[in-house]
């Protein structure tokens, strides 16, 4: 491209002039500014209990959509439940990061069984899992329940079985857990929260 001396000066002058005008504040600015939209406005809010420890903090789970037929819901935010008397909206770092536990690829999502002698975990249905556990319990209890001790006093102990209760259980499920298991004679009763 051939640029004459005069053209060169013109281009320089035009550039200098327009940049000066912009600097002096004559340039139109786009004035739009908005805070980020509140992301929970129409999300579905579900109450639940944090699964981690025995404090059992209440959490609010927010998921996409309004549960309409074609909307596949997905959890995208979890925060503390201010109405829960245990934590009144607060959470610990593990609880505050619950979302990533829910969405973790390593999370166990269905019952699995490892048969005796096998190294493989096999997926089974919830019904199969419950039936299997019930059968094992029945067999073991029938074989090992101690009805009377050496002095002949009725004790109804079932010492060969242990139960690990959910840490997410609040008072009422906790009461039912103890009542059911003690009725069966279970002595070794603990909660997952203490691990």
């Amino acid at each position: 491209m051939q640029v004459t001396r005069r053209q060169f000066f013109r281009v320089c002058a035009a550039g200098m002039g327009s940049s000066s005008v912009v600097l002096m504040g004559f340039s139109p600015g786009n004035a739009l500014a908005e805070v980020r939209e509140f992301k929970l406005t129409k999300a579905t809010e579900t109450r639940n209990t944090c699964p981690y420890c025995s404090v059992a903090c209440g959490v609010l789970i927010y998921s996409l959509g309004d549960k309409s037929k074609n909307a596949q819901s997905r959890i995208f935010h979890i925060e503390g439940d201010p109405d829960n008397p245990v934590n009144r909206g607060t959470l610990c770092p593990k609880g505050a990061g619950l979302l990533d536990m829910v969405q973790s690829p390593n999370r166990l999502k269905f019952p699995e069984v490892r048969e005796p002698g096998s190294t493989e975990w096999k997926r089974i249905s919830w019904d199969d899992a419950m039936a299997r556990i019930a059968k094992h319990m029945k067999t073991d209890r029938d074989a090992n329940l101690i009805e009377k001790n050496a002095d002949g006093v009725t004790v109804n102990r079932w010492n060969t079985f242990g139960f690990l209760a959910s840490s997410a259980a609040s008072n009422e499920p906790g009461y039912l857990t103890v009542k059911t298991l003690r009725a069966l004679g279970v002595v070794a009763l603990d909660t997952q929260a203490r691990i």
Binding site: G17, S20, L23, M24, G25, G29, N30, A31, L32, A33, E34, V35, R36, E37, F38, K39, T41, H77, I78, E79, G80, P82, N87, G89, T90, L91, C92, P93, K94, G95, A96, G97, L99, D100
Partner: protein, 295 residues
């Protein structure tokens, strides 16, 4: 301009006055260092709410993780082991944007509308307008904003402006299990701080006090410190923060002077053109020059 959920009092690189009729409550976050157990629930809640996940780092032998603020970690806990008078103290400070009343970042920012200050005191970055120059980092007396390596834009704590705009507390404050973080009207927070300071003083921390530095016009994130006379103990919290004089020199004096010089040059050129006119070359001189060129 659209009518925002939060009124704007100041925009970066903008000289037109902002609407200022509506009066909204000035808010503040109070960090009671003496009640903090360093659990990092605030850090986790911040990442969760703001949809940012920093890279998983490595352990450096201390609790600090990550070691510094990043474009994806807007708040970090800093753990200082301080030995004084034969006593070891573990001073834990939640670091992050202080939301200054006189924000150095906003003053230094050359991109119109990239940094805003809302009427409630929150200083917010609008990354769409950010040009990634990093002046905000230079302008910040607390060294808070960080440039992202992914998009070259600056990020920092927004005090969850999206939550505050709808009347909710920031995510970190909601999560805090010990109540070390409190949120409310700035007035209210000062009253609460007074109670805490009184309590600390009665427990032997004579120098306990509120950190609300006047050098930056006060902040909307305040600390209750047990050693308010020595804020540097808390992982180098500045004693008397202020905006670097270079920022005010550049924005206050140098820029108008340069504008004036440019305007002078433009005006002078105009006068020169009107009075002297364009440089005419006479026919004789042109012929002479052409002859010379021909040689």
């Amino acid at each position: 301009m659209a009518l925002q959920s939060l009124d704007i009092t100041r925009r970066s690189a903008t000289t037109t006055p902002a609407p200022s009729v509506r009066q909204t409550t000035e808010v503040a976050k109070l960090i009671d260092v003496s009640a903090c157990i360093g659990c990092k629930a605030c850090q986790a809640a911040c990442m969760e709410w703001n949809d940012i996940r920093d890279e998983i780092g490595t352990c450096h032998g201390v609790y600090d993780n990550p070691m510094d603020l990043t474009a994806k970690s807007w708040t970090v806990m800093r753990y200082a082991e301080v030995e004084q008078d034969g006593r070891l103290e573990w001073l834990i400070r939640k670091d992050g944007c202080m939301h200054c009343a006189d924000p150095g970042c906003l003053k230094a920012c050359p991109a119109p509308g990239a940094i805003l200050q809302y009427a409630n005191g929150i200083v917010d970055f609008h990354e769409e307008h950010c040009i990634g120059c990093g002046y905000c980092i230079t302008g910040c007396p607390f060294n808070i904003p960080r440039l992202s390596k992914e998009d070259g834009k600056a990020y920092k704590c927004s005090l969850c402006s999206d939550r505050v705009a709808v009347g909710q507390a920031p995510a970190c404050i909601k999560a805090c299990p010990t109540g070390a973080l409190q949120f409310g009207a700035k007035e209210q927070m000062k009253h609460y701080a007074e109670e805490r300071i009184h309590d600390l003083q009665s427990r032997g921390y004579q120098k306990a006090g509120l950190y609300d530095p006047p050098g930056v016009g006060g902040t909307h994130v305040m600390y209750v410190l047990h050693h308010a006379d020595q804020p540097e103990l808390y992982s180098r919290l500045p004693n008397d923060p202020g905006i670097s004089p270079l920022v005010s020199l550049w924005k206050g004096v140098a820029k108008p002077l340069a504008t004036l010089a440019l305007a002078g040059v433009a005006l002078g050129s105009l006068f020169h053109y009107v009075t002297k006119g364009p440089n005419e070359v006479s026919k004789e001189l042109e012929d002479e020059l052409e002859k010379e060129d021909a040689k």
